[in-house]
Symmetry: C2
Subunit: 323 residues, 2 copies
């Protein structure tokens, strides 16, 4: 792991890919290696701006990431693209699994696009992506984009690991706005209305106004930054510079508290790891898992209170009978 | 506990108060009693409509609950009022601690207003309120109002224990809407704009329109019910009947899936109990608690990854060294 760590720090791209594969592995011996590796890399992390990008299918997410990534590389940065997509575990598909996506960006020497999906539960996927993010930072990438689909709870997990959360939407009338997943707007630091081109140019403008109105109804997440709405056309490349300007303004406005916020995120991450791992170990214990299934059924049917059921489950898990 | 359970089932009001006190206690021996008591009462629970009521200070929450409660009692129901207010643990105050609040309702033989606050962490307070709700149902109350302040995470906890979540707001211009806590609107099944009287009557109407517009931007929580906005004046008593009509329509629309939703809520409650209790026990273990404080500091300062820190913490907790 010491060699691999050094190769990652030297910017060896294949070592980077291998390191992320190791971090993503759920095998216990790999987990041990991953922790050693991360311990070596940790002093060299923290040097990127971490950007979460969420967008429902149809918002043009991969075209947008390609356009933004290319713009950012042209401005002298190095860009890594990761993904949190627990849905891929079910569907077998992946938001980054399609090789033809982001082809141009993936070929750029300034970019690293992680093509394979991380699989498993949201908690597991999120943990491995957070750690992959650290590996990318250690490898010298100073912009990390963490992509996620605009459905489910993965946005909350991504927002908890990034500095800035960007929501990408397509122009649409009220009907489409209604389809916006609850809660996503509340995480947004920047809303980007994509596809402001051709027939949709006018619709993009009014969609932007609607989102500005919706954001106006919400309390900003921080005192330092008021969420803003930008329109762009990823296909034509218009507005992409303005999106990046918004990111840089965000960084300038919030830079003073960055270390504090990241420290808080890391502490929350610790406790979510502790919680997740405790539940994993509880479920991995055969006797406890059997009892859990029975108690779940009893609780659902109203035969026992959740409090009493939890009590019995913990007694089984923490004080197993001998034999 | 068998006697106390029988007295609760017989509708003895002092027994009800004693039973809730027992359920609220954090003493381990009381906890044991409480579980026995709840086991006896459980077959007699489930007969109420469970309504969460959230409102920021200034929305007129106690006046509204008094007006709604009185209306509902006049319609032949029996009403219990509980509260989730973890903030009272810090401030020493309580949303239900003021004896002069809901005086009229509290004197009514059809009402039970729990005057004392439950104290402690949100998880603990929420658990005890969920169990108090079951006790009230066993005592024959067929409407249970669970009040919470419109700040913090207590709304999410209350929404997870009720059938219908009602958000009370005061008329206000855009500035006040902005102050609305993120996330509350997304939990709302019914939004009530209070104080639609005197000088504020017109403002209440336009506030109602604004909230209707905001709700329109969100996907409904269920297919069976589209959230609606009602205006009322709790002081004048106008619109209160319309609020209750909305509750009854909600019940009619969602009745078919009530058992399923409550079963899901109970299962989620089981796992949140398991998680909360596991963390409680982890923190109650002196060696683990000491290590946790050290690791929290290390993680915040970036000296160790949260994943590795969690690993060490769990090894300490689950496999203590002999000695």
């Amino acid at each position: 792991m010491t060699d691999l760590a050094q190769q990652v720090l030297d910017g060896d791209r294949r070592a980077l890919a291998r390191a992320i594969t190791r971090v993503e592995s759920t095998r216990p011996d790999h987990r041990h290696d991953a922790e050693q590796l991360l311990a070596k890399l940790l002093p060299h992390t923290g040097g990127s701006i971490r950007i979460g990008i969420s967008g429902a299918p149809g918002a043009g997410k991969s075209t947008f990431i390609e356009a933004l990534g290319t713009h950012v590389i042209d401005a002298g940065h190095r860009v890594a693209v990761l993904a949190v997509d627990p849905s891929s575990a079910r569907s077998g598909g992946s938001i980054l699994g399609d090789k033809t996506r982001m082809e141009r960006l993936a070929r750029s020497p300034g970019a690293f696009v992680r093509p394979s999906p991380t699989r498993g539960t949201l908690g597991g996927v999120a943990r491995r992506t957070r750690e992959a993010l650290l590996v990318c930072e250690a490898a010298g990438f100073d912009v990390v984009l963490v992509e996620t689909v605009g459905v489910g709870q993965s946005e909350v997990a991504v927002a908890a690991m990034v500095d800035l959360f960007l929501v990408l939407v397509a122009p649409g009338a009220g009907d489409e706005l209604q389809g916006l997943k609850r809660g996503i707007m509340e995480l947004a630091d920047v809303v980007v209305v994509n596809k402001a081109d051709g027939d949709l140019r006018r619709a993009a403008g009014s969609t932007a106004s609607e989102y500005a109105g919706a954001l106006h109804l919400m309390r900003p997440r921080s005192e330092e930054w008021t969420p803003r709405v930008v329109t762009c056309s990823a296909i034509e490349g218009t507005g992409i510079a303005e999106v990046w300007d918004a990111v840089e303004e965000f960084r300038a406005s919030t830079g003073a508290t960055l270390a504090t916020r990241r420290g808080e995120q890391a502490k929350e991450w610790l406790w979510s790891e502790v919680t997740g791992s405790l539940l994993d170990r509880l479920r991995a214990d055969p006797a406890t898992a059997t009892l859990a299934r029975k108690l779940e059924a009893d609780v659902t049917a109203g035969r026992i209170t959740p409090g009493a059921a939890a009590h019995r489950l913990l007694d089984e898990f923490l004080h197993p009978r001998p034999g």
